[in-house]
């Protein structure tokens, strides 16, 4: 034994005698993870979270979360002598007097934007491949929860510097709270410690932003990862891969190097953005006061769809018995997002209700093989995209010589007709791809070489595809629609007639598919 091995041995012995660590470390260091780049999207989010914790802690050493009024006497001349909150002044100090301060501020904000973008693409990957099915439904709900909390955390974070742009966003948030029926004005006064803007909001959201929500994130992310660890990661279908195995590489050394290395990549790219691209230049926005506003005011991108929904809302308000209900705020700001996110969270259960499928799934779906789910996903994305575009309608108008009125009408109508169109187009596309897959299996790959037969006919030579590819294109399941007879053999009617009719119709729509090629089909063709 070398000296190094001796030392390592005694350390390991020390720890193991006290914790019994050797057993579970051995098990976990050899754990196998399947390899695909799309499995790294969630990691981008995870590493961005760590970057947010690190850069955020740096910022807390200088940031003053107070709205008390100060006169600016710092390094940025165009704001010299102006009245502003201590929060804003301390953010200026971080930006211009603390070395590395502006870099850290920018890294923190870029990391937040990347965090949310990574969550969205990760969600899309999980959705379109069906990784949310049993046994991972609970993890999906945690994910939707992380997405929601992320939106709130980001909003609170960029509101801390108390600049003109984020202060405008806080004003809008206060209006949403105030619009709640019965309790709105009370909740608003409680949140802000009085009338808007008051002096209590920034200190309070600081506590939420640096303590409460990060704690919630740590807990949820830990459970999220533990479930992935324990349930083992899903894998893409392919030769040698079944529902009962995991094909991949062990944690030590491959994954430690690759995943660990990827953390540094994410941090490096975020630092690169922080170095070369300006974000949230609060010194140009100026300190917040309710009497000022900038043209082209938007929230950060992950809230842009909310802004777009509010902008396109018709001017609906009800007045009755001395009370007002602002539908033009509640519907786009709370009710529609609430329905969307609840539907998203419950989707695994909705789909298993439609298909009647209660089995475990560890092999991922190719999106084309689940046309209904894929089409629904594209439809939802189309809805969000129209809303997002409307959120930036004034910037788009000035950039492309359009009018905000045109874009508003495009959005109002588009958000109703474009998603169904997207659904139909996507479903058709999936079925076409299924047909193409079937042709590929049965007839092989078109080589582009033409051959003339003796009797003068030209044919294109087709090359049969490999056995691995044929397997990939035909391994998926094609289950028939649920058969929900209205009455059983004895003529007793099944309860819940309307629910079952709906379920039967949705199940039928879900099962629409091009039949996959079978061995029998292949044999038939060979005889030609």
């Amino acid at each position: 034994m070398t000296a190094r091995e001796k030392i390592a041995g005694s350390v390991a012995n020390y720890v193991d005698e006290r914790t019994g660590a050797a057993k579970w470390m051995k098990k976990n260091l050899t754990k196998v993870f399947p390899d695909h780049w799309s499995f790294l999207l969630g990691e981008i989010a995870l590493y961005s979270f760590v970057i947010l914790l690190l850069s955020g802690t740096f910022l807390t050493f200088w940031f003053d979360p107070s709205q008390r009024e100060v006169i600016y006497e710092g390094a940025y001349a165009p704001l010299e002598g102006l009245k502003m909150s201590a929060a804003y002044a301390s953010t200026l100090q971080i930006s211009f007097e603390v070395r590395g301060g502006l870099l850290m501020r920018q890294i923190h904000h870029w990391a937040a934007l990347i965090f949310m973008a990574a969550i969205v693409v990760h969600l899309m990957r999980v959705y379109f491949t069906g990784a949310f099915r049993k046994p991972r439904e609970f993890n999906w709900i945690i994910g939707v929860g992380l997405l929601t909390l992320g939106i709130v955390e980001g909003f609170l974070g960029y509101s801390l510097p108390d600049d003109l742009l984020s202060g405008t966003g806080v004003r809008i948030a206060e209006a949403i709270i105030q619009a709640l029926p019965l309790v709105g004005s009370y909740l608003a006064f409680f949140a802000f410690g009085g009338a808007f803007p008051g002096e209590a909001f920034i200190p309070r959201i600081y506590t939420v932003h640096v303590l409460l929500l990060p704690g919630a994130f740590l807990a949820l992310i830990t459970v999220h990862l533990m479930l992935v660890w324990y349930q083992k990661h899903t894998q893409y279908p392919g030769p040698g891969r079944t529902e009962k195995n995991v094909v991949g590489y062990p944690l030590m050394p491959v994954y430690m190097a690759k995943a660990g290395g990827f953390f540094f990549i994410v941090f490096g790219v975020t630092a690169f953005l922080g170095a070369v691209a300006s974000i949230n230049p609060i010194w140009l926005y100026g300190p917040y006061t309710p009497g000022q506003i900038s043209a082209g005011s938007q929230p950060d991108w992950y809230m842009g769809w909310l802004d777009g929904l509010v902008r396109m809302s018709p001017p609906l308000e009800s007045h009755f018995f001395g009370h007002t209900v602002s539908w033009n705020i509640l519907i786009p700001g709370l009710i529609v997002p609430g329905i969307l996110f609840t539907g998203m969270a419950l989707y695994p259960f909705i789909e298993s209700w439609i298909t009647g499928d209660k089995r475990e799934h560890h092999l991922l779906d190719r999106p084309r093989n689940v046309p209904n789910r894929t089409a629904l996903g594209v439809m939802s994305l189309t809805f969000m995209l129209v809303a997002l575009i409307n959120g930036g309608n004034d910037i788009i108008a000035t950039t492309f010589d359009l009018t905000i009125n045109q874009i508003m009408w495009f959005s109002r109508i588009g958000i109703l007709i474009l998603p169904p169109i997207a659904f139909v187009v996507t479903k058709r596309l999936c079925l076409s791809l299924q047909r193409a897959d079937r042709d590929l299996v049965l007839h092989g790959r078109e080589t582009g070489r033409l051959v003339m037969m003796e009797h003068g006919e030209f044919v294109e030579v087709h090359e049969p595809i490999s056995a691995e590819k044929a397997w990939l294109l035909t391994q998926h399941e094609q289950n028939p629609a649920l058969a929900l007879e209205e009455s059983d053999l004895r003529g007793v009617r099944r309860p819940g007639v309307l629910k079952n009719k709906l379920r039967a119709r949705m199940s039928k729509a879900h099962a629409v598919a091009i039949p996959k090629a079978t061995a029998a089909d292949l044999k038939e063709i060979e005889h030609h």
Binding site: Q106, L165, G304
Partner: protein, 251 residues
Amino acid sequence: MAPLLLVLALFSIGTTFSVAGAATSTPLTAAEKSALIDEGQRIFLKGCSSCHGLNLEGSAIAPSLIGVGAASVDFQVATGRMPVADMSQQIARKDPVYNEKEVEALAAYVSSLAPGPDVPGEESLNYERNGSTAEGGELFRTNCAMCHNFAAQGGALTQGKYAPTLMGVTPRHIYEALITGPQSMPVFSDKTITPAEKLSIIKWIKAAEAEPQLGGASLGRVGPVTEGLLVWTLGLGLLVGVAVWLAMKAR
């Protein structure tokens, strides 16, 4: 040796001309003024009267110019807005058609028919001396940012109209716009925003224009829209690119 002499000669000739040209303008004599007005009338009849009327009374497609003042004429013509090229949504800044002398003549002619705001003199535009950048920023954010955006990059109005960017606009034209209220822009009276305050606004705009990129590429200074776009293109693009490389088998 010869090339060096040539360079020196050119240099001295050039500086002599520019020194001579930079002499402060002396007030015009009555005769010179009258000639300027005649010249202005000649230009007006040829280039402007078809829309604005032979007596500046206006028409269906152009407003009356009675009382608009030399400041309006200088602003509209010297920024190239007038004569109009495209009347669809809004009159846009473009390369001026008339040179400085012609603009002066037009301004003299129009203001001779009825009094109106005058072109501010160079002395009254000394914003470096008489303006305050910080105060100008406060004034800008309260009075201008809602149309022109927090960094004077411009913004959208209704029905395709827009408040243009203020980058590259001369202090004189900014001042004239403030006092004449061109097109959709309101008028900012000297009592509600004093001349000194107007100079502060100009000083702040110039400071913002000259401000270096303190945090990196400015992405247009329009806020979160371009920042979000950068994340979804460069940010995710780089990261997904590395992820694809990571999972690929090495050769």
